[in-house]
Amino acid sequence: MDGCTPKLEAKHYKSDLTPIWCPGCGHFGIQAAVNRAFAELQLDPAKVVVVSGIGCSSRIPAYTTCYGFHGLHGRALPLAIGLKLARPDLTVLVAGGDGDGFSIGGNHFLHACRRNVDLTYVVMDNEVYGMTKGQPSPTTAPDWDSDLQPGGTGISAFRPLGVALQSGANFIARGFSGDLGGLTKLIVQGIKHPGFSFIHALSPCVTFRPEEKEWKTQTHASGEALTSDFQEASRRIAADDGLTTGPLYAADRKAYAPPVAPMRDTKTDLSHILAEFRI
């Protein structure tokens, strides 16, 4: 930004809407970290789009002063990919829940990692379906008791970091909503890193998983530096207890970009195409 433009602060990215979230919900912390990251990068809100699906977490776009798209449950990633391919000039941040991203949107997650379009994807993981009032999600432990699945699901939990690594994500990190400074840093790194950046953000659901308030003391920084070595990243993921935070892996795959950018001026002369048909 040039000298005449006042510096943007985190509050300039916060809209006038009051979030629907329960007091104490982890999603507030993530919202704050996203706003801080935007401020740190001095992004023009008119050139940022926050894309989400459906869930408590997915309400985040309208709470920013950026452009936003609050779409369908599980479908934020392909929408964001279409947008970014069509408009490579924009910064596109995708956010949503663990149910949204790993269950109904699971296939899109695999292919977004693989496709490596320049996006940042923040999954606000509370290991539960918050919005639909407390059903287990793919990241919920097998023995978590709920109304729908008394005694637990008996299904082992999904391990997002390993899936992201195997599927080709270009940047992988885990943060915690209670660690504002740490999470902000990870989001900044993710946005700056080319290609698909995946940030697994632990975010307690105080209403349906009150025990997650303990994450404050249970999460622990990895203390290790970001690695670009696939084997080393795999080793760390294998040893991970699910509560290790910090940057994990950054690869140098080139971000996917189409061979040509789409023309928004569509008044192109097509006579050469017509000539192909002419007898």
Binding site: P61, Y67, L83, V260
Partner: protein, 586 residues
């Protein structure tokens, strides 16, 4: 009772053969040679279940004036061999005046062919091919067909040579091969007389030829999409829609467009919505099963008011159905498949050449009305190759309404306006920031579950479609203004219906045709005006359950209770089926 039988002015040729026999190649070359000779034509294909190779038939109809559909019978059937021909013999009706000409070594004539009453003869296609370097039986047969239908031998040689010379065959050998086949034809005509002569008469008063194209329906649709301004497309491959974007892909590279092969149909439609939200006119292509997967997302485009074109090529359904063959049975899902009250647009091209303007119009409607527009093409026209007169150039003046210098805190994305269309900010526009939402929302876009917001937004989304002037393009209305017989049809079924009505007219029967291009929103007043004075009404469609007539009876004020003429695919409606009803009525 009046009888209509004439198929004057056209000749229909079917070429069949097992995998590798080159039936489809021969059909394509026949169509192209006809184009070169200044004729018109249409070629469709019918294939067995094999992925590659396997039995196939090319169904070609030629004339000196434009041809949009097949007739009642095939005049000539060329059988390079008879293997598995029973799999599609029902799609190649023959009559007592037809000639079935098989290779000398093809073996016994299949029962159904023999039972048709056609004149069955054989010819030494394979034997002659053996003696000419680079020649194949299908090429010899093309020479024979040229003679029988009166196609100049030079046009056939030129067309065949253009293909074979690339494969190392000399011009002299090409010429010899075509000549050898041509001579068989000449001898047949000499020995059989009228039974082997199918010469197409010259068009009366033929002047200079207009600009003509050789094009498939899917190519025509692709071209129409580009003309409309589509610069982003996403798909998950599915027959018979994929070849549309296979044609577009290299053209996008040349003119600045992005194509994305998605991981599934839901991702494809979501990508198109994302790109369109970003300001780039966008389209997704699919067929029945894929359309079913896209529905939730199409509802999002309606609710969030994002322009979107869904190009669906209908095939036999339900479920995986008959992927390679045509049927008009995705009408219900396109009209009624969205959950909630979700007004949207459904249009359908009427023929191969009409795919250009109808697709271009679909893009226009999507951009202009900021909504989802379905285009219902069908396998028959989508994969038909035709020689057509160049469609007329139309500029709809397509423009998406965007705000001028929107102000933060004042700009309302979903503002209630007179037309129902509100200015749509595009990311990058300062002050226009909003969140597009599939949750019901207020004018600003903020989610709202209040009755007044829901009602006013429902009204807005409905009004913008209802208040719009769709113009004359909504239907082709033809025939006699004082006719008491009316016929309503849509899609590729329009061609056989038109042909039937032309035959009726030649016998002095007055009819009025309404071939509908705009299927939703329903325009009851316009249809009522088009059918004024009609006392008998026929609805023609290719569907088992009568989806089209059901829709018309539910949503339109028809002057009389209509009669239904329908059957499912893969058999196309034949002109004679329509004629039978008309002769019963007159």
């Amino acid at each position: 009772m009046t009888q209509f039988t004439s198929e004057a002015g056209t000749v229909s040729v079917a070429i069949t053969g097992s995998g590798g026999a080159g039936a489809i190649t021969a059909g394509t070359l026949l169509l192209e040679a006809a184009g070169k000779a200044g004729w018109y034509g249409l070629m469709t294909r019918t294939v067995g279940p094999q992925i590659r190779g396997g039995e196939a038939a090319a169904l070609v109809r030629l004339a000196r004036s434009p041809v949009a559909g097949h007739g009642d019978v095939f005049n000539i059937l060329i059988a390079l061999d008879w293997r598995n021909v029973e799999r599609f013999v029902a799609e190649i009706p023959l009559g007592p005046n037809s000639l079935a000409l098989a290779d000398d070594d093809a073996g016994d004539v299949p029962g159904k062919i023999a039972a048709s009453g056609a004149l069955n003869l054989t010819a030494p296609f394979a034997k002659l091919a053996d003696d000419i370097r680079g020649a194949r039986p299908n090429i010899i047969a093309l020479g024979t067909v040229a003679a029988l239908v009166g196609l100049p031998i030079e046009a056939m040689v030129e067309t065949v040579a253009a293909t074979l010379i690339e494969k190392g065959v000399s011009l002299a050998d090409c010429t010899q091969a075509i000549r050898a086949g041509f001579d068989i034809g000449v001898q047949l005509m000499a020995s059989q007389g009228a039974a082997a002569s199918f010469r197409v008469p010259e068009a009366a008063g033929a002047g200079a030829l207009p600009d003509r194209w050789v094009i498939t329906g899917n190519q025509a649709a692709g071209y129409g999409a580009l003309k409309g301004g589509i610069r982003f497309a996403a798909l998950y491959p599915i027959t018979p829609a994929t070849d549309l974007l296979e044609w577009v892909a290299p053209r996008f590279a040349a003119i600045g467009g992005v194509l994305c092969q998605a991981e599934d149909e839901i991702a494809a439609v979501q990508m198109a919505i994302g790109a369109s939200y970003g300001g780039v006119p966008s389209l997704t292509t699919t067929s029945g099963p894929g359309l079913a997967l896209k529905l939730e997302s199409i509802g999002l485009a309606v609710a969030a008011e994002v322009p979107l074109v869904i190009f669906n090529v209908m095939r036999g359904g339900p479920s995986t159905g008959i992927p390679t063959k045509s049927e008009q049975t995705d009408l219900n899902i396109a009209l009624y498949g969205l959950h909630g009250d979700a007004p949207h647009v459904v249009v359908a091209p009427l023929s191969v050449d009409d795919c250009v303007i109808t697709t271009q119009w679909a893009v226009h409607l999507a951009e202009e009305l900021q909504t989802a527009v379905f285009v219902l093409s069908d396998q028959l026209m989508a994969q038909a190759k035709a020689v057509i007169s160049a469609p007329k150039e139309v500029d709809f003046g397509t423009k998406r309404l965007v705000p001028v210098e929107p102000k933060a805190g004042v700009y309302k994305r979903y503002a209630l306006t007179g037309s129902g269309v509100s200015p749509m900010a595009i990311p990058g526009m300062p002050g226009g920031q909003y969140t597009a939402d599939g949750l019901e929302h207020n004018e600003r876009g903020t989610p709202s579950s209040q009755a007044n917001d829901h009602h006013s937004q429902l009204d807005k989304r409905n009004d913008k479609l209802n208040n719009f002037d769709y113009g004359d393009i909504w239907a082709d209305i033809e025939g006699d203004a004082d006719a008491e017989i009316g016929i309503i049809t849509w899609g590729s079924t329009s061609a056989p219906v038109r042909e039937a009505l032309a035959r009726a007219s030649a016998s002095g029967i007055k009819t009025r045709l309404v071939a509908m291009r705009l299927l939703a929103p329903a325009r009851p007043a316009q249809l009522a005006a088009a059918l004024k004075g009609v006392k008998k009404l026929l609805v023609v469609e290719q569907s088992h359950s009568g989806q089209f007539i059901g829709y018309l009876r539910a949503q339109y004020d028809l002057p009389v209770t209509p009669e239904s003429l329908r059957h499912p695919g893969p058999l196309a409606i034949r002109p004679s089926e329509v004629c039978e009803v008309l002769s019963r009525w007159s």
